[in-house]
Amino acid sequence: MSESQIDEGLRAELQRQGVWVTSMQELYNWGRKNSIWPLQFGLACCAIEMIATAASRYDIARFGGEVFRPSPRQADLMIVAGTVTKKMAPQIVRLYNQMPDPKYVISMGACAISGGPFKQGYNVLKGIDRYIPVDVYIPGCPPRPEALLHAFMELQRKIDSQKLSGREKADFLKKEQPSEFPVPEFGEHDLNPPANKDVYQPPELERV
């Protein structure tokens, strides 16, 4: 549950009397987290698991996420499901840029996180978080539908905890936070730039 701005005791007391109180922030986040519309695109085998998650057995509709949108203009969530090749990376960044705020990214599977088993490949991007900010990472090769559902619930938890106002308000509400990120270009040997320094800050490698 989100940190409430209303005194919990008072709320419980009022609820006993049949009065339901809420705040704008809670109402907004409640609506948002229960209607996350993912962008409809898959890149590789993880997409099959994503399809299974949307189908009746796992049924992502229980979480309000069944409305896969074919247009980035209508999507809230980008599920990067599969190996991101360097050929595909600019398109993904551009799609992310075209999504309206607030937007979230789930990096699904080992490939989307780090390149996975194809990490050594000359044509594979070593993680989509080099270009766009990722909210939830799911390990696995591919992750099972339950794992995607878990990531979805984690994202719901994150949305629920986002603040509408104050200094700690969510990033997409801040004027100075960018909504678009530079699209990489095809270089001679690699994408140019190989990573967006503003987004991708890997931990320093310590050699002992």
């Binding site: 551009r94 509400l173 801040k174």
Partner: protein, 129 residues
Amino acid sequence: MTPNPYLFIVIFAGVALMFPLLPLALAWCWRRFFQPPKPGPDKNAIYECGVESIGDAQIQFRSQYYLYAIIFLIFDVEAIFLVPFAVAFSGLPVGAFIAVLVFLLLLIEGLIWAWGKGCLNWGSGRTGT
């Protein structure tokens, strides 16, 4: 006292006007007080499938499909007219018979023309362009 019968139309028009305006006003307030707009070159792009559009949409292209349209008329639409014509043939007056004959002649002319164009050739032959 009965209310003016036109009053309901006024109320109806008012509700019809408020129905789209209220969400728009709410969206405007949301933008104004909470979420600052963040437009950008990608977000404002017209094409939205991740690939940048090349060139202009207002171009000329050759219309070759009309050949299919003609063949479709001859072999499909004509058959639809021929079946009721054949069924009602014995009871038709001369005028109707001539009218159908004119229609058939027009289509046969099209068939000869399409034949001449070479679009009845099947396979490797040159199709009319």
